[in-house]
């Protein structure tokens, strides 16, 4: 004899359709969340990587000695000072300069400095900026950082849309099951079934569908996320190269389908309760 007998039956086509829809939505949710975590983490790591760096450009050579003195005076704050040689600068600018132009005379003396603490950046800027150009690397990559955070915002928005879609979809499924089984609902009422019993029956059905669907969606999303990260790393430099997922990020990704499953069961309860009170 069967241990538990469900009052509501679903034909295979209905179950398959619902499983596919929830799988796709879970896949997109995990993908969006994975990208949001990778880009968000990348932006933070990239910013941390450059927040101690600045470039000093001495346009007026009369200030060169004063700047050197500032470096020496604040050696406790500075980890390293590297002068970028003129040939090196010339090499870097070559693609944008027409041949035959003698740019050597116009190039400033440049230093790349790395501070011990990023909190000293403003102090150093105040010391140097009256005599030379002081450019922080953070300000230089500001637009890339901004683009990164926008990307996080967009993927988070997509994730929210997916979760709303899952909620609507589950609500529709519950409503559909109830409509298809009006006769069974009537019989359950007749035999004294409480709302709790009916809701539990619906939750078993939707729970089973959601459990399979979220697992399928998650399993398909993982290799796609890994492929995206591998492709991003192939850029070698820039924000793209810093995209990766930490152990905590992977844990969050695993939790997401579980939350979707719990969300589905909760939405089923709310929808069924609403349907029953409409009767």
């Amino acid at each position: 004899m069967k241990k538990t007998s469900l009052v509501f039956s679903l034909v295979r086509e209905q179950t398959n359709f619902m499983t596919v829809v929830i799988s796709v939505l879970t896949f997109l949710s995990v993908l969006a969340f994975g990208i949001a975590l990778a880009v968000g983490g990348g932006v933070i790591r990239w910013n941390n990587q450059w927040e101690k760096y600045a470039t000093v450009q001495i346009i007026n050579q009369d200030n060169a000695k004063t700047i050197q003195k500032i470096f020496e005076t604040n050696s406790d704050k500075i980890e390293s000072v590297v002068e970028i040689s003129k040939p090196e600068m010339e090499q870097r600018l070559k693609p944008w300069i027409s041949s035959g132009t003698k740019i050597n005379d116009y190039l400033p003396q440049m230093f790349e400095i790395k501070l011990k603490k990023s909190s000293d950046m403003q102090f150093m800027k105040n010391e140097i900026s009256t005599r030379a150009k002081f450019l922080t690397h953070t300000s230089a990559i500001k637009s890339s950082m901004s683009a990164g955070w926008k990307l996080v915002g967009i993927t988070t928005f997509v994730l929210i849309i997916m979760l709303i879609s899952i909620g609507l979809c589950i609500s529709y499924i519950s409503r559909n099951i109830a409509m298809l089984h009006k006769h069974e609902l009537e019989i359950l009422n007749q035999v004294g079934a409480t709302d709790k019993f009916i809701i539990h029956q619906m939750q078993i059905i939707v729970g089973k569908i959601s459990a399979i669907a979220t697992l399928v969606g998650f399993v398909i999303a993982i290799p796609v996320i890994l492929l995206i990260l591998t492709t991003a790393h192939s850029a070698r430099v820039g924000l793209m190269a810093t995209l990766s997922l930490t152990g905590f990020d992977w844990l969050m990704l695993i939790i997401l389908p579980i939350l979707i499953l719990m969300f589905s069961v909760y939405i089923t309860k709310k929808t069924t309760l609403k349907i029953l009170s409409e009767k």
């Binding site: 004899m1 069967k2 241990k3 007998s5 009052v7 039956s9 006769h183 069974e184 009537e186 019989i187 359950l188 009422n189 007749q190 035999v191 004294g192 079934a193 409480t194 709302d195 019993f197 029953l276 009170s277």
Partner: protein
């Protein structure tokens, strides 16, 4: 937990009850009566007069537009859905069209009232198996309703209703799809339940033979109003035997009624 003895002798009380269809057309107007524990009534009236609606009102499947309904002394105005479910644990209803769930086996259909009460599976298995054997459907436990004859399906429906040993049994033309012989046997079962266990029964029927054979009081519905007639009919109050309550451990209940089930609807 169900009470083993009625706390009040009047189990159904209608006071100035009116109700209508969704389109606003009146079905019953200003209906008042009391039905005592252990009584047996026939419910008659022309088709569409409101017999099913009256049973649905008692069973809280339909709400009155006016008036007050009391069941077991409890006012059903603004009663919560959960309290209605609890009230239905002491009542059962049988319809002419059986109301069985087609994708569930005979066993599961009969077990349903016990499952919704959260009884343990081993207990359900024991009682359902026994009940099915008693109603002569033991070998059909794993069959589906569609595989059974009309009479057999009605027996499943009745088995599902009596398995909880209800204080009130409402039957909406239960013999409508049965031949005279099977109708008579089913009636004997209801009479036995009423006599032996004090189950209050209201049985809607068109069958004049039944009305003539069994001299039970009759509730007639005509032109939206209810009238009482017959030996014990009393519009004001009707009291008699006390309901003896469910006794699942006792084999007496089923052994008594099982005698009435033999050969019903085997055709």
């Amino acid at each position: 937990m169900m009470k083993t003895v009625m706390e009040t002798e009047t189990v159904i009380s209608f006071a100035n009850v009116s109700t209508n269809y969704d389109n606003g057309h009146d079905i019953l107007t200003d209906v008042s009566f009391n039905i005592g524990a252990g009584s047996f009534y026939f419910l008659t009236g022309p088709s569409g007069a409101g017999k099913t609606t009256l049973l649905r009102l008692i069973y809280q499947l339909h709400k009155p537009t006016k008036g007050q309904i009391k069941l077991f002394g409890q006012d059903c105005d603004n009663i919560s859905r959960n309290d209605i479910s609890i009230l239905r644990h002491k009542m059962a209803i049988v319809f002419q069209e059986y109301s069985l769930i087609s994708h569930m086996t005979v066993f599961d259909n009969v077990a349903l009232p016990m499952r919704v009460r959260g009884l343990p599976n081993d207990k359900i298995k024991k009682i359902v198996t026994k009940t099915l054997e008693w109603v002569g459907l033991g070998k059909y436990a794993n069959a589906y309703p569609v595989e059974l004859s009309g009479g057999q399906q009605q027996r499943v429906s009745v088995a599902r209703a009596i398995i909880i040993q209800p204080a009130i049994l409402l039957a909406d033309e239960p013999t409508g799809n049965l031949d005279d012989d099977n109708a008579s046997r089913l009636m004997e079962l209801f009479v036995q339940m009423n006599k032996a266990f004090g189950t209050t029964i209201i049985l809607a029927t068109h069958n004049k033979k039944l009305l003539e054979t069994y001299k039970f009081p009759v509730i007639s519905i005509d032109n939206r109003h209810v009238s009482f007639s017959g030996a014990n009919g009393d519009k004001k109050t009707e009291t008699s035997r006390k309901w003896k309550g469910p006794q699942p451990q006792s084999s007496n209940y089923f052994s008594e009624i099982s005698k009435q089930f033999e050969n019903i609807g085997n055709s």
